[in-house]
Symmetry: C2
DNA sequence: CTCTAAATGAGACGTAGTCTCTGGTCAAGG
DNA sequence: CCTTGACCAGAGACTACGTCTCATTTAGAG
């Protein structure tokens, strides 16, 4: 049973209908090898409405089939998910993304919980740095290579790392 | 020397001019007791252009005078910052925000660094939960109280806690 | 096959933020 | 005093990302 069939099964279980549009979006998602935006999907899936792609992505997000990565310029990209809880290590130069699961906030959560009396439900952690190949290319600004380095466009937000 | 004078001094040091618009934005920012949006500022500072408010906020962000909080609905709000590295604990019910600094990712960073060979530069961590008063009000959906619980508007994004 | 609830897609709308352009303020220098 | 030039303000167009509305289509249960 292929990936797509498994996902379709899960969609059906949730009572979602398997429409041709959804199938096309799903195909496009599974064809992505790195992270992507809804716009990327729209370019590859002709004939699917924008709203439908957004709606489908929301479902896939609920099912943990995709996750979202906050790029260092503030843009939110989608990415196929392992389904398990994890976080992202994002290269601020080329946009390459590494997952990691050895998330050790549990002790932090315990401390916070007793210090603030909050009932902690979730957390969001993204780490930023330079991947090995981008370090080697030192200051040479690798114009447009590696991973999914589309979007030279200036972009909004920006500035990761909080204070 | 008041807060505002200290900030103005820092702006001047960076070569920014102290204009009446900037002063008005600054006043509005300092008058906020919780987190706020640019739109909130626009409502309180009459006669300052939208672009100018955004431009001023960007400067304040660079100077670590304000920071941004990712609300659990995905909205980015501004908040007066301590200036030091810290993170946010956000109540998913009323929007109250607590800062915390006992951020113990350093060991995680070390592990990641050696495991992935990334040169880690920054991280972003937000924690979500229910504050004490919202726990007491159990399932009673406190319609519109506490902290800065404006914005009943549906909102984008949503879904904190990653996977 | 029939029927209906669910889904689609076009496009309007909302919000956050940037950009462009024109005009203003102000300080330095002649 | 006048010019110059850097910085800045504000209006409004524009972009990105996402939601909503509504008329139409379709999946899939019976
Ligand atoms: Mn974690
Ligand atoms: Mn930290
Ligand atoms: Zn890289
Ligand atoms: Zn609360």
């Amino acid at each position: 049973m292929s990936d797509i069939d498994l996902i379709i099964e899960r969609l059906e279980l949730r009572g979602h209908r398997i429409t041709s549009s959804r199938r096309r979006v799903l195909d496009a998602v599974l064809a992505q090898q790195a992270h992507f935006t809804v716009d990327d999907l729209l370019h590859t899936t002709r004939k699917v409405g924008r709203a439908t792609v957004f709606r489908t992505m929301k479902i896939l997000l609920d099912l943990n089939i995709v996750c979202r990565v906050m790029m260092d310029d503030g843009a939110l990209h989608y990415r196929l998910s392992t389904g398990r809880h994890h976080h992202h290590l994002v290269c601020t130069n080329c946009g390459r993304v590494e997952d990691f699961s050895n998330c050790d906030v549990n002790s932090l959560v315990r401390d916070l919980q007793s210090a603030t009396q909050y009932e902690i439900e979730a957390h969001w952690l993204e780490v930023y740095g330079r991947c090995q190949s981008c370090q080697l290319l030192a200051s040479v600004p690798e114009s447009k290579s590696a991973a999914t380095s589309k979007r030279a466009t200036s972009a909004r937000g920006g500035r990761r790392g909080n204070n």
